[in-house]
Amino acid sequence: MRLIQKLGDWFDLRLQLGAPIRETAEHPVPHETASWFYVFGSAALTCFMLQVVTGILLALIYVPSAGEAWSSLQTLNHGITLGWFIRALHGWGSNFMVAIVLIHMVQVFLFGAYKFPRELTWIVGVLLLLVTLGMAFTGQVLRFDQDAYWGLGIGASIASRVPVIGPWAVNLMLGGPIIAGATLSRFFALHVFVVPGLLIAFVGVHLLMVLKLGINEWPMPGRIVRRSTYLQEYHDLTHKQGVPFVPNAVWKDILFSGFVLFSIAVCAVYFGPFGPGGQPDPTIIQTAPRPDFFFLWLYALLSFLPPSAETPILLIGPAIGIVVLLALPLVAGEGEKSWKRRPIAVLTILLIAVALGTLTHLAEHTPWSPVMDAWSGQPIPPQYLQGQTALQRRGAVVFQAKQCHNCHSLGDKGGQRGPALDSVALRLTEDQLIRQVIQGGGNMPAYGKNLSPAETTALVAFLKTLHPASQAPARDASRDVALGASEVSRRPQP
């Protein structure tokens, strides 16, 4: 025991770190902040440390070369003892890190922790969010499979839309004219050196400010932040009724971090590593690329933006979002902290959460995409064909053969790009059906040049049968009159 003490003294005489570490550990914090709501920041840091360790372990095997990355991932998954587990830890660690950073941000926002004097802590936090998302995106590229390849294509297509410098930006992003070896190498450099370097620097500044300015006190409704009085109030709060950070508050951080690591490990064991998916061979086009979970909402949004507004929204939207986040503490640096007295703040969070949740949910089902194999793989349910005439059945064959089923569902089978056709005969009359099929419109391609008159007749005859037995199909009341009149006019005049 005395030997350890002597050894410790030997080092401390030279390093002189003991006293500042002790002071930092035991600095007083408001006693309500020893709370389970205050554990997310440290948990995010724990995730990051896990990512550093597992990332270095993966780099021992991974080859950042477009020709070999995919097979080196296969080797990691199948050829190296527990390589799959390290990949799974890194992948799940990434998901947990993004999730916890977002939760941390929501908590900080709702507790008003971004207000004076912690404005810069929030601003650096916003940068940390961006850098974390940057890590997630570049990491997804390093899993160099079909999704990564076409995801880069999406990134390049977005970058190319920047006015004037767009084409340059694409060349810089890809490192050349196409997605190839140079592209993967530069994303490797970004993911392993540049972005983590920024992340470490920002984390350092962020933590330094948390220590210097003190952790945000528990917000009490009615306790208003004023620049003139806040520092004194906070000093009184910590020194009169504060508790030392170690051990009063830190045990919850440690326990929660342990729980997070345990959860990541359980997910890694149970669900395994992410991919890699198909080989990054651009000549294999039978693929439906999708981004990772945290970018799914964006993927969904891109299919709903109207074409004319897409480029401005894509380029200006993120810039506005980031500026709003950065400016928040500068605009609202004083005032009420408690979420109980900030209904707009709470509603904003709910709105964003519902919007992102809905878009993510939609992206998991991609109702806007044609179901590419519905025409050959999903037959029309039999009840739609019973008791049909030969012409109507012929129409059903046209419906399948011309791939109408890829975009239109019958009995919940088939695509959802266009409306379900189970009761289309109630909505459209025969003439309207013919017009819609031949001319298209309302986001439907025109099939006029691609269907013979006989095929159109058969198809419409089939579509006319699509209505519930209890309801009569739509009909044009003027049709009988008009046809009757033409019958009359066609009669030979005496």
Partner: protein
């Protein structure tokens, strides 16, 4: 020598040192920036595109649209399979051809050809194009990108080498905007 003089002289030496570092830094910055910008400089000087063969004309029967592949003209040894690029070749009437980029004009996903309905469909966000490459429906703002082509010695050649993107479409022919 007074103390103030000594301080000001040393302060000046510090400034001189900083200035020297600034000058050297600027000199170093030039090659670093040029190195970083090499993909852009390379394009401006030499261009990335050249004429490539897609194979004999017999591979592309009249009235049909077929997938063709080519090796990108600018490659590195470690590009692997990413150097192979696909495109759609439509033989209109044995005289006229259309060669479409595989990339959707929306965000670059690979479009698939469905001969039964004569449509190109994109798996990402549901863009659809007619057989002549013009936009049919969905989020794309324009028709499919088209490569310039020529026929030499019974072979179909296209001018290619750069991934077509919405912002870089100037070098490429625009897809038709009329219906098929």
């Amino acid at each position: 020598m007074s103390v103030e003089n000594g301080v000001s002289r040393r302060a000046m030496l510090v400034k001189l040192g900083l200035l020297l570092n600034g000058i050297v830094g600027t000199f170093l910055a030039v090659p670093i920036v040029r190195y970083l910008m090499s993909p852009v400089i390379r394009e401006k000087k030499f261009g990335y595109e050249s004429w490539l063969s897609l194979g004999a004309l017999e591979q592309f029967p009249a009235g049909q649209t077929r997938l063709a592949t080519y090796k990108n003209p600018v490659v590195n040894a470690w590009d692997g399979e990413t150097a192979d690029i696909a495109c759609w070749v439509r033989n209109v009437d044995d005289q006229t051809f259309q060669v479409f980029a595989i990339n959707c004009a929306h965000l670059g996903c690979p479009v698939r050809w469905f001969p039964q309905s004569s449509l190109f469909m994109c798996p990402c966000h549901g863009g659809a194009y007619y057989q002549d490459g013009s936009r049919a429906s969905g989020p794309p703002e324009r028709g499919l990108f088209q490569y310039h082509y020529k026929i030499e010695g019974g072979k179909l050649l296209i001018k290619a080498g750069e991934m077509p993107t919405p912002g870089r479409a100037a070098n490429l022919k625009r897809g038709g905007t009329t219906c098929a």
